[in-house]
């Protein structure tokens, strides 16, 4: 989709055309859902939050003032995710670790070796555990940059902070992840066992 198409679809959405907005939804739903799921780590909650994000975006499309539309969507999704995390923390309904039951990362590997697959599964679990120990802000920065591969400016727009703040948060997140994963050194790749 070209930027022009996106702006035209946004304009049509402002005029109340659901079809135009739903083309944007189809374009970005994977990205939004992935970020939300990695933040809340609960599939059911992630689906609800993603749906609410798009509904909220449609209702508040008039407040979109240009810039990266996907980052604007991410900001809505991030706020909704934070609300959810605060809510469950306040109610003490469930802990982050318990949510791993509903979602687990998978580390890609072309190897057909079952031993390697098992190690990758353990590594993925370790990463989940360590990412769960990060603060919400640090985790969001790491998910956006290191996991999803977005640029700093888009991540900054999504979070609503400066690029420097994103870099700082990412730096701290990486340092804490490093400290965390080194506790289980045998699971780490050889390059990480220095």
């Amino acid at each position: 989709m070209t930027s022009f198409d996106e702006q035209r679809l946004i304009q049509l959405t402002r005029d109340g055309y659901y079809d135009a907005f739903n083309r944007l939804v189809v374009e970005y739903q994977d990205a939004v859902f992935a970020v939300v799921l990695r933040m809340v780590r609960n599939r059911a909650a992630a689906e609800d939050i993603t749906q609410d994000t798009f509904i909220s975006a449609f209702r508040k499309i008039s407040s979109y003032r240009g810039g990266i539309f996907r980052a604007w969507l991410f900001r809505i999704a991030k706020n909704a995710s934070m609300d959810y995390l605060r809510k469950i923390a306040r109610r003490g309904e469930t802990s982050i670790d318990e949510d791993i039951v509903y979602f687990s990362e998978t580390v890609k590997d072309d190897s057909q070796d079952p031993v390697v697959d098992a190690l990758n599964a353990e590594l993925a679990r370790l990463i989940e555990h360590c990412m769960g120990g990060l603060s919400d802000d640090h985790r969001f920065a790491m998910v956006m940059i290191d996991v999803e591969g977005y640029q700093y400016d888009e991540a900054a727009d999504s979070i609503g902070v400066s690029i420097g703040t994103v870099k700082s948060r990412l730096n701290r997140a990486r340092a804490r992840m490093r400290d965390c994963v080194q506790q289980d050194r045998e699971l780490l790749p050889a390059s990480m066992r220095l």
């Binding site: 859902f33 580390v107 996991v147 994963v181 220095l194």
Partner: protein, 347 residues
């Protein structure tokens, strides 16, 4: 800052966050790479840290991408439901989720205290709340009542019990039904009395409990008689100060109301109520149309003024500024508690 200064003193070049991030991500410029490599040669732990971060980033990049499990297209029904959910009512209802009640309690206290401070301040500025005006109002009330009772008594002592008359015990009874019973309030409403009675009345305002007890010990048959509908109530001893000619036989039930009102006992209030009922039953109030509009105006004015000092005298005598300061302190404490609770919950 301190870290940078120490690095300069030790001759070590500091690595900026930008340089570290760029090196880990493989986007560092040649100068940055050279700088980092020089530092890594001197510092083995730095080399280990950066290598671990590079490996970690590569692992994170290999995490499988997630796809949406279903379509999240938006329909008009969804938007309508969301709009309804975000209505003001639902937001208010959300505030009463049990988990939030604890945090709302101090907030409510703070709001109430702040409103109290505001009202007191406004009242102070506008002169509505002025404790120093008590004596002034009292003297004014006495004079006003003296004047009004003199007029009312002269015109028709028998009609003194009529509603709307300034010296009306019925009116006094009305006041007792709606406001806290007050001895001086009834005293100033002496029916068919002379100015001497009205002049004595303020003394009763300041009666303490001991005097009241003495009153109780004294013949207070008038009170009992009033409740039983006696035709000739016997005045309480405290009324002996008044000239005996003030005890007009015409005063009948109206007098009993006045005398009974010197006691703040609730039973006396009940006596007064019954007394008024008696008046109504016996038709004493009939033909009260003789009370003029002027008298009604006087009654309204007297009611507005004569009971003010009583309430201030009987209430808590706390300087206004102390009350305001207390409320401000309460509001601050409540806000602090509310903020603390919210922080505890991570809001």
């Amino acid at each position: 800052m301190v870290h940078k200064c120490l690095n300069r003193l030790s001759g070590r070049k500091d690595l900026s966050i930008d340089a570290v991030n760029a090196f880990v991500e493989g986007n560092a410029s040649s100068d940055e790479i050279q700088n980092v490599e020089n530092l890594m040669q001197d510092n083995a732990s730095l080399k280990k840290d950066l290598s671990t971060q590079q490996a970690l980033r590569s692992v994170l990049g290999r995490i499988e991408k997630i796809e949406a499990p279903r379509s999240f297209v938006v329909t008009p029904e969804m938007v309508a439901a969301s709009a309804a959910q975000d209505s003001l009512l639902s937001r208010v209802a959300e505030l009463f989720v049990p988990q939030r009640r604890l945090a709302l309690a101090p907030a409510a206290i703070a709001v109430i205290a702040a409103v109290g401070v505001a009202l007191l301040t406004i009242g102070d500025v506008t002169g509505i709340v002025d404790q120093s005006s008590s004596s002034r109002s009292e003297s004014f009330s006495t004079a006003e009542i003296s004047k009004s009772t003199a007029g009312g008594g002269a015109s028709s002592p028998r009609v003194a019990g009529a509603p709307g008359n300034p010296g009306d015990p019925g009116s006094s009874a009305d006041m007792f039904t709606t406001e806290k019973a007050s001895s001086s309030g009834a005293a100033t409403a002496a029916p068919a009395a002379t100015t001497e009675i009205a002049a004595v009345a303020p003394k009763f305002d300041s009666l303490d409990d001991s005097v009241a007890a003495e009153s109780a010990d004294a013949p207070v048959a008038g009170l009992a008689d009033s409740s039983t509908g006696s035709e000739e109530p016997e005045p309480p001893s405290i009324m002996l100060e008044a000239p005996t000619d003030a005890m007009s036989p015409d005063a009948d039930n109206s007098d009993s109301t006045v005398f009974g009102s010197y006691d703040e006992d609730s039973s006396v209030t009940q006596t007064q109520l019954e007394s008024r009922e008696f008046d109504t039953d016996t038709g004493v109030l009939a033909g009260d149309g003789s009370s003029s509009i002027e008298a009604e105006a006087e009654l309204a004015h007297a009611q507005d003024t004569r009971f003010e000092p009583i309430s201030s005298n009987n209430g808590i005598s706390l300087p206004l500024w102390q009350l305001q300061a207390s409320l401000v302190a309460l509001a601050i404490a409540a806000i602090g508690a509310w903020v603390g609770l919210r922080r505890t919950r991570g809001e």
